[in-house]
């Protein structure tokens, strides 16, 4: 076969031979205008995902026996472009991280957002802090109005998805685990979310409820508060049992849970008894804490960040991130539960343990020996290479 398009002999090849010259000419004719490299898409991506933003504590309000509401405002000198201007827009149910140096340590913790997405546009972002753990204690007791912190951008997937989730969310919460649902209920109230939500909230006594149920008497929201250590009018007493749950489950219900692991185990069992589809249950994951070991051993941990090297002790009952934080190493971390991959790090050598329920690494990470230090415990001396924290 012979390829031919033009009837003029030699024309096809002539055109091909002229391509380069033609291209050169077209480039010559193009203006040498300044290049546009950022568009609306790029600006929105930055606004939604600014990375780290500097914030300051604006107010602290005790809201229950063991919870304090902390209001944050953008601080001068924060990240671009959100710093000093506004908070990144987010989805109801997401969390942020707060980081700062506290004593000799460099600490970083995730906190769920109380505010609705639109509320935060007003310049204040509220988070719930429960009185437990070293960083929360620091925030409640030592940090004051004006204390500056680095805030990691809103993250997480504990949000209603109109495609994945059914239209009615049965939200089951205990303790400060109600926080993402407060954000969702506010979002329903303001109209930025359109699903229905029934909150089943377990607390010890009325004094442990960190919100005012009266705030959420709105269309689309139902609420049941279950007190375990107190009987009171208008409240249920006891535990979140199958009998109670089945009153609120219809054919269009997905279950969202946020609270302690013991609550998850109990409610999972109850939902199983009801024959509820397990793929329609989502639970917010809790931080990976210390593990029980028969004998506490100290290992030598060598940490590479770019061309810097740190040497420290790491105990086999603590995660690598805990060891690094205590040593004051600014180690990147976000979710602290093994799932987000923000602390993805390379193992140069050494043995380690990851509980399979906390192992959300990619298959290739396992093959090539990468870990998430927030869910990894050392089992020998180790050498790891971690990404720099770069606000």
């Amino acid at each position: 076969m012979a390829f031919k398009r033009s009837n003029v002999p030699g024309e096809d090849i002539k055109l091909a031979m002229e391509m380069t010259a033609k291209r050169r000419q077209l480039i010559d004719e193009t203006p040498a205008a300044p290049l546009v490299y950022e568009y609306g898409v790029n600006r929105l991506a930055k606004a939604l995902h600014p990375g780290f933003v500097k914030v300051a504590i604006a107010e602290k309000t005790p809201c229950s026996a063991d919870c304090v509401k902390i209001g944050l405002r953008p601080a001068a000198g924060g990240g671009e472009p959100a710093g000093g201007v506004e908070f990144p827009y987010f989805r109801a149910g997401q969390f942020i991280t707060l980081s700062c140096r506290a004593g000799d340590s460099f600490l970083s913790r995730p906190y769920s957002i109380i505010s609705s997405p639109k509320e935060a546009l007003g310049g204040m972002l509220e988070i719930m802090v429960q009185r437990k753990g070293i960083f929360s204690t620091f925030l409640i007791n030592e940090a004051s109005e004006g204390t500056e912190l680095w805030m990691g951008e809103p993250s997480g997937d504990f949000c209603h998805d109109s495609i994945r989730d059914r239209n009615h969310i049965l939200a089951i919460a205990g303790g400060s685990g109600v926080t993402p649902f407060l954000s969702m209920m506010k979002a329903i109230r303001e109209g930025s979310e359109e699903f229905r939500l029934t909150l089943v909230y377990g607390a010890r006594t009325r004094a442990h409820i960190p919100f005012d149920p009266e705030d959420f008497r709105v269309e689309g929201v139902d609420m049941v508060v279950v007190l375990s250590e107190e009987e009171a009018e208008g409240y249920r007493h006891g535990f979140i049992t199958a009998d109670l749950l089945k009153e609120y489950i219809d054919a269009d219900t997905s279950v969202f849970m946020c609270g302690p692991d013991a609550m998850y185990r109990f409610v999972q069992g109850e939902l199983k008894d009801l024959g509820f589809d397990p793929t329609k249950i989502r639970q917010e994951r809790n931080s990976v804490g210390d593990r029980r070991v028969s004998e506490i051993k100290l290992f030598r941990l060598t940490v590479h960040i770019r061309d810097s090297v740190y040497e420290l002790d790491a105990a086999n009952n603590e995660t690598l991130i805990t060891a690094m934080e205590r040593a004051g190493i600014p180690a990147v971390v976000r979710c602290r539960n093994g799932s987000c991959g923000f602390c993805h790090s390379r193992v140069v050598n050494g043995e380690y343990f990851i509980d399979s329920k906390d192992d959300f690494r990619r298959a290739a990470d396992k093959k090539f020996n990468y870990i998430h230090p927030c869910s990894t415990y050392p089992e020998s001396d180790m050498e790891i290479d971690i990404p720099i924290m770069n606000p």
Binding site: G40, R91, F368
Partner: protein, 510 residues
Amino acid sequence: MDKYDVIVIGAGNGGLGAACRILNEGKSCLVCEKHNIPGGFATSFVRGRFEFEASLHEFNGIGTPEDPGSTRILFEELGVADKIEWIQLKDAYHLISEAEGYDFVMPFGWEAFAKANNQLHPDGEKYVNEFLELCRQIRDAMAYIGETKGKPDPAVMMEKYPDYLACGSYSVNEAFEALGYPKVIVDNLNTYWCYLGADGNSLSFLHYANMIYSYFTKGATIPKYRSHELSLAFEERIHELGGDIWFNSEVVKILTDEEGHVCGVRLKDGREIESRHVIANCSPHVVYGKLMDSEAVPERALKLTNFRKLAGRGFTVFLGISKSAEELGLKDHNYFIYDTADSVKQYESMKTIGNTAAQATVCLNNADPDCSPEGTCIIYMTTLFTDDAWSSVGKEDYFKTKNKVAADMIARFEKATGTNIHDYIEEIAIATPETYARYCGHPQGTVYGYESQYYDGLMNRIQMVEEDRFVPGLRIGGGYGERLLGFPSSYKSGVNEARRTLRDIEKEGR
């Protein structure tokens, strides 16, 4: 050490390939990556019990160990081939177009593919054989031009590759018009157009023909552990060779000396690192517009970059399904679902949000049954936007807009394949142009670099590659490079720029 022979900006495919090539020659090399993992688009992510492939649908150019493709050979040279486990795909695609009345599966392999065209037209096999012969001549001509380092003997070209020369200037549509095949055959041969993302009036026929030839003669593969496996294989190789990769380390400035020669880079945290040679695995719009002081950018670099056209902006819906592919009735790995077989019309409708006229959808379990837990499957659906429609989406509409487009794509897939998947969606993630812009920084969230245009196609770029560089010590490779977009192309482009950089270093030494 604060001085490297070469600094690579960006650990995307091009950057990783370039770094390996540099290090293979015993030169020192630092890769600076702004994200916390390597790969750029060649990555994966975990949601619940699913691990989603971020971008790759099928990898062309690997072939088999016995009959290796050009990319396998390249990976062997770079020392990464043994680190990757490949899965060979069975069929090329399942094309469904309700409007055109098309619903057929096409196998890989020249003979099998040609024969399969008999179900479309009585002479289908004959046409396709003729077409693949033409493609072979084009492929051979390109190889010859490469061997002669871009200086082929005109007499040899005229004698051995006359058809290559004759169709050298034409677009896909012009070439098919000249070939005069029946519409159904042309439509079928055009199916892969969306992998290059330029419509048939713009896309260079030589480029397309070369790709088609490679697909149907070498088949396609996927890495067993998603494309993250490729990226980590490269990272491991870079460490083996003594190279460095710094993550969360965005380069904000390429530094030049008084003579205008590259002398280093500055990172976001202010740290400066010396080097006489930089290979940028990012958009020239970003390199010349943002990373360099405007007085250091030659006028012609601005002209060339303004002359380019940004290519397809990505949109993908990732679904973890709580039913197996078998239970759903999905048999194929790779589905193309087109409203029309006319690429120009498809391209036109992809300019706006709201009418997803084309989708390339993968059911990963049909290539790798072990890719998700038993009783589940992974489906991902990709489309392109051929204009900057997403720039006008505001932050308060963003989440709803992406779900609306995703729901439409899911519904279209269900209709075309006669399946119900929406009742079994256990996990969902949606990547929009904003997502691609976020991770890789490309203008408008383009995933395809610069679009193949009539006068900015593959051969034009290759022939003018030296003419298209302007700053001594700086080379740009990857998806925006001379070989255009795609996995194999971006690796090759990075390696080519590394080769040229090594030549620059050698010249300096003399």
